[in-house]
Subunit: 348 residues, 2 copies
């Protein structure tokens, strides 16, 4: 049984409100009393119950961060950046993983809602309308998606996809495949939209393959389809899929970039370690994490939300800033000139 404020009050011979003040407003209590109370608290192993405190103050000093797949190396830098930024402002971050499952996502928001002061929804797979709905229960900042009326931090994958396609066109490729990501991904839609336009503008042909699991396995599983499609270059939804695809092509006897060029998205650490090193669209994940925390905490810096503190900040129509962060094509070794025509890789 952890000690409560009452135990400490009894032990130190003061009222519970004095104990409370000792912890939440020490300057309001007589130094001698404070010392005595602190000693008793220490003695009993007392720690203020943050949940009970939150119930009344309306602030937990915690932030929830919901990600689609914690095993995807794309997320850790974002998580770390968010944590760092949160720590500066005396907040802690709790991370939850949805396994790419929209239902789990919704559940987790509700599980977190009242234990945190706000939630960062990272690459959500749920519908926009559901996101809007949950945002009425708890302040939300959306990352990697655009939702009207909500604060959003996006990475310009559209522009990245265009740069990637133009890079490929410049290398002479005319038959290009786009490996789609998961259903419900905003990034996926953006990439498809812009890549299609860029390919058309270049007078080339785009093959859409998807939706797929955005993992190595998902990428590897597409090797055979890629071979059959006869394309000479591939833009993958993310680095993991690109790496899986390269492995898969390798076991089919197709070499990258000699036979097929491959581009990923994210620039995860791993993309520099594989052979060939991966050409990829670098996304500013750390900046996204920091920005999202700032946006969440901006309006809600000090004033409590809910309960007593009502009116001050809570119901305010927050300025729903939407930030678009730039991406950058990083050319490494997985892209090269289109193979000489007549060489029928598909028949290999």
């Amino acid at each position: 049984m952890p000690a409560t404020i009452r135990d400490v009050a009894r032990a130190s011979g003061v009222h519970i409100s004095t104990v409370s003040r000792t912890f939440s407003a020490p300057h309001l209590v007589n130094p001698e009393t404070r010392v005595r109370v602190l000693a008793c608290a220490e003695d009993l192993g007392y720690r203020p119950n943050r949940a009970a405190r939150a119930l009344i103050t309306g602030r937990t000093h915690n932030i929830g961060l919901i990600v689609a797949d914690i095993a995807n190396p794309f997320f850790p830098p974002l998580i770390k950046a968010a944590e760092g930024q949160a720590r500066h402002r005396d907040y802690h971050v709790f991370v939850a993983d949805t396994n790419e499952d929209p239902a789990a996502e919704e559940e987790l928001v509700h599980a977190l809602a009242k234990q945190v002061d706000g939630v960062l929804l990272c690459s959500p797979r749920m519908s926009n309308s559901l996101i809007e709905q949950v945002s009425r229960e708890v302040p939300v900042v959306v990352i990697n998606r655009q939702v009207a009326g909500l604060p959003c931090v996006m990475m310009d994958v559209g522009q990245g996809a265009r740069a990637a396609i133009e890079h490929l066109l410049g290398l002479g490729h005319r038959r290009i495949a786009l490996l789609g990501g998961p259903r419900g991904s905003w990034t996926n839609r953006e990439m498809r939209r812009v890549a299609a336009a860029a390919v058309r503008a270049g007078g080339a042909e785009l093959t859409l393959l998807g939706p797929n699991q955005p993992t190595e396995t998902g990428g590897g599983a597409l090797a055979e389809q890629v071979r059959r499609s006869g394309v000479t270059a591939v833009l993958a939804y993310n680095d993991l899929m690109a790496i899986g695809l390269i492995e898969g092509l390798d076991s089919l006897g197709l070499r990258v970039p000699q036979d097929v060029s491959v581009i990923g998205v994210d620039d995860i650490a791993l993309s520099r370690l594989t052979r060939p090193k991966l050409t990829t669209v670098a996304t500013p994940t750390a900046a996204a994490g920091r920005t999202a925390v700032d946006m969440l905490l901006q309006h809600d810096s000090d004033a409590p939300r809910g309960a007593r503190g009502r009116g001050a900040v809570a119901g305010d129509r927050r300025t729903t800033a939407q930030v678009m962060l730039q991406t950058e094509l990083v050319v490494r070794d997985s892209t090269g000139p289109v193979p000489p025509p007549g060489r029928d890789v598909a028949g290999a």
Copy 2:
């Protein structure tokens, strides 16, 4: 302002306790009333405040999981396994990352303590006595460490280290280095202890390098030291360090395994993707995650802890099981026969 139980009661013309029952014991309320209440709740966007509920029931149905470094691919499989097991039992998992910082670790336990029913402390860097202390505030299961009197899930890295050393001895290596991990790591101590004994038993010589950051960077930074030390084989604290070391050796012109053999620990997914593929001690991370959740939830399945429910389960001296999971040496391509003597790699 999210709606409260009172708003719903008012709107549906019943007492708050009826609303409460509608959500926590629906069978106790008249179907017609229930429908009406549910409709009003839906209407107002009401969701029971789980924090308030927890304050009284003593159960949050959440589990905290604290890891040393979420960017280390060792953890995701463990996290996923824990989540899966938790979901079966209708629990959610909140993950927190300590950045290998013992102080952050302690802070996070306290931040999580009252928002969860128990904490999984994964590869903790704090002292045993601190772990014991926090375990008085919240039920704790320790992973990757042995703490007397607390439930622990360990992986037998000692046995793994022995197998690794014996593998190297069998290949003729007589000068072996052990790349230590972070200070405060139990795994690190175990490996050192057993590796030293195994090397001695084989009549060989062990060089200790450490403590180090258990990351690629940490491993890469040791390449020069490894070269100078003149060893022909290295056992690294984990795969990340092993991979970083291989990269580092590569840029010094040393090839693996021709010049130096390298073994990692963990068998992360990446260890199959690098060239050469990594020989490593596979640790049963998923099993550890599942087991830890089971141990945490075992005693505390239904009865509340704290408050009203006292006596039933709460204060019971739980059977502090300690589980040791087996590890297994996976031989791949980063280990080979000792290079012929006379070939002075150190002077290369």
